[in-house]
């Protein structure tokens, strides 16, 4: 079995896998850019919808923000809080010599808007999220999903609060969302408040709560951050009451790095093993003999039956060899492969193959929906077991 604990080796293997599985293509003429192919887009979109729904449940709404941030608004953040003006893209979209920044993060942009609103008397709290592409001028080596110049998905939630209770409750709610979602994604995760260890941390935020994970190659990675911004940005952008009291703010974000970790943890030498919550299809139905009209017809009937019972499925009737089709489906990490061949058509059966264990079971047409649900449940529980074994391995085998 291929050892996956060397970071560089793992990264090269993963880059190749994401391409071969038709998830992500990073061969773009601008360094640090990736295009998400339809299957990959579907995975990312499912993840985004989970977070959107979770944030809406705690009172956030989606806002649509433009690309350009006025240079002087952005530079206020750089001068007074943290300067990263050399790591963004500048542009002159309106007049020849105007200067604007291409959206790098939400803080300056939305804080200025919040300041406008408080000045106009709009009632708090303000709780908004957005998911979009942002531009970051990263220097050095870029890595798909981990370090890119065109970052998508980039999910941010930003809020301003009228009292301390609401402010603290929001931080806790966001941490709870992280815990719930990352558990569903089957990632080993620790959600902790980072101690202040240096001046730099204090400049940007009062404290931060981070979701930290460990990859199979023992890389420690920050999946998401919740920043207690306190009054830091409010003082710069005049987000205050009529009496001059500054309102505290919270910022939350995650990017494609989170998916990078999901992929790294949930894979084996054959490819991905996608958690059910983001798998575009729970099952792929493949005919054993390509070109067989009978097998294709029966497979379509099986697919329709699965979909009527709430199980997402697609079919593969391509003219590639059977082995290539199976290998491709394994790479894509689809939880179940349902095989339809001559025996299955004649005997009105289906063969269910689990992606995680390789276990095959032959069931009758009458029973297959129930058996499929059972197989999916087994798949889900087994992924959790494998994750726990990974954690155990990382805890007890420090030198490999």
């Amino acid at each position: 079995m291929k050892k996956l604990h060397d970071e560089k080796e793992h990264q090269l293997w993963m880059d190749s896998l994401l391409r071969k599985a038709r998830i992500l293509e990073h061969n773009f003429p601008v360094k640090g850019e990736s295009g998400w192919l339809p299957y990959g887009f579907s995975i990312a979109h499912d993840l985004i919808k989970i977070f959107e729904s979770s944030f809406e449940k705690i009172g956030f709404s989606e806002i649509g923000l433009p690309t350009f941030v006025k240079g002087e608004i952005f530079l206020e953040q750089c001068k007074q809080i943290k300067d990263f003006s050399g790591r963004v893209y500048w542009s002159s979209p309106f007049e020849k010599d105007d200067y604007h920044v291409v959206k790098p993060t939400i803080e300056a942009q939305i804080s200025k808007l919040f300041g406008l609103w408080t000045g106009q008397g709009k009632e708090l709290p303000y709780k908004y999220y957005t998911c979009r592409s942002v531009g970051r001028y990263e220097t050095g080596r870029t890595i798909p999903l981990w370090k890119e110049r065109n970052v998508w998905p980039f999910f941010e939630a930003h809020s301003a609060h009228h009292n301390n209770k609401d402010f603290l409750e929001t931080i806790n709610q966001e941490a709870e969302i992280l815990k719930t979602v990352l558990t569903e994604l089957n990632i080993p995760v620790f959600i902790i408040q980072r101690p202040k260890i240096g001046k730099r941390l204090k400049e940007y935020s009062e404290r931060r709560v981070e979701a930290i994970s460990i990859t199979p190659y023992r890389g420690v990675t920050i999946l998401s951050s919740i920043y207690d911004l306190g009054e830091i940005f409010s003082k710069v952008y005049e987000i205050k009451s009529e009496r001059g009291e500054y309102y505290p703010m919270v910022n939350f974000a995650f990017s494609g790095r989170l998916l990078g970790t999901v992929f790294s943890v949930n894979c084996d030498q054959f490819g991905l093993k996608l958690p059910l919550c983001i798998a575009p299809f729970a099952a792929r139905i493949t005919t054993i003999n390509s070109g067989s009209a009978d097998q294709a017809k029966y497979a379509t009937k099986i697919k329709n039956s699965l979909e009527r019972n709430g199980i997402t499925a697609d079919t593969d009737f391509s003219d590639q060899s059977f082995k290539k089709r199976i290998d491709f489906t394994k790479r894509q990490g689809i939880p179940l492969i349902i095989l339809i061949g001559k025996d299955e058509v004649i005997g009105r059966k289906v063969t269910i193959l689990r992606r995680d264990t390789g276990e095959r079971v032959v069931v009758s047409e009458k029973q297959f929906v129930e058996k499929t649900k059972s197989a999916l449940d087994g798949y889900h529980r087994n992924l959790i077991t494998l994750k726990e074994q990974l954690i155990e391995n990382l805890y007890t085998k420090w030198v490999v």
Binding site: W36, P38, T67, F68, F94, L116, S133, G135
Partner: protein, 233 residues
């Protein structure tokens, strides 16, 4: 579109507008999907090498540059409307097979066009935050321009009808001897449009693939765009 925003010539969308846009976009996605289009996500920073071969397509002053770290000796472009240049790297993949064509893709994302005069007209902006752009890439041989044209025309007409807009359809010879078809609202607001770009015009992009006889053939493109104006009707 809310112009109460701390940047001139710019706007933002409030939550209730986002819901309206997403409802409309959802209708569009369903229709496109029924016609065989697949959704992708593509970079909004586009290399000059993907735009320069078609600079006669735009007035170069209409394109917006982005300078990395403020360094004006290098630049990328912010993705322009209507040509779907962002997708071309996907078409040029080494693993691309003639069997994958026609390849019909679309994306939802911003598109940019510099206006030489600032305008408070809500339907004339430098940026569309929610623009649907797409295209059908298909082989020169066997040529099926009419078939692909009809597919796209049917899809866009169906979309226009589902919004119950009183649109009008205009044909104009705009780009490289081929016709553009534009859907406009009764008040002349641009809603959607498409045009055919043959391989000959796109030859600067080296869009070729081996056919079943192991011979290189060129790839044509019918490019389309659907404006956020449609979702705001």
């Amino acid at each position: 579109m809310n112009f109460n925003y701390p940047l001139e010539y710019s706007y933002y969308f409030e939550p209730k507008e986002i819901k309206k846009i997403k409802r409309g976009a959802g209708l569009v996605f369903d229709t496109l999907s029924n016609y065989g289009f697949a959704r992708v996500s593509l970079p909004f920073l586009v290399s000059p090498s993907l735009v320069n071969p078609t600079l006669d397509h735009y007035r170069s002053g209409n394109l917006i540059k982005a300078f990395p770290g403020g360094n004006r000796s290098k630049h990328a472009y912010l993705s322009p409307y209507m040509l779907f240049t962002q997708a071309i790297p996907l078409i040029r993949l080494p693993m691309q097979s003639y069997k994958n064509f026609p390849l019909s893709l679309f994306t939802l994302g911003p598109s940019y066009k510099r206006l030489h005069k600032s305008s408070k007209n809500p339907f004339m902006q430098t940026e569309e935050i929610f623009s649907v752009q797409g295209g059908i890439f298909f082989l020169e041989e066997p040529s099926s321009i009419k078939e692909q044209n009809n597919t796209l025309d049917s899809a866009l007409s169906e979309i226009m009808n589902s919004f119950e807009s009183k649109y009008k359809k205009i044909s104009a010879k705009m780009f490289y001897k081929s016709e553009s078809v534009i859907f406009k609202n009764k008040d002349e607001t641009f809603l959607a449009g498409y045009h055919f770009l043959p391989y000959e015009y796109l030859s600067g992009f080296d869009l070729k693939v081996k056919n079943s006889k192991n011979r290189f053939v060129g790839i044509n493109l019918i490019s389309f765009s659907i404006s956020q104006n449609l979702f705001l009707l």
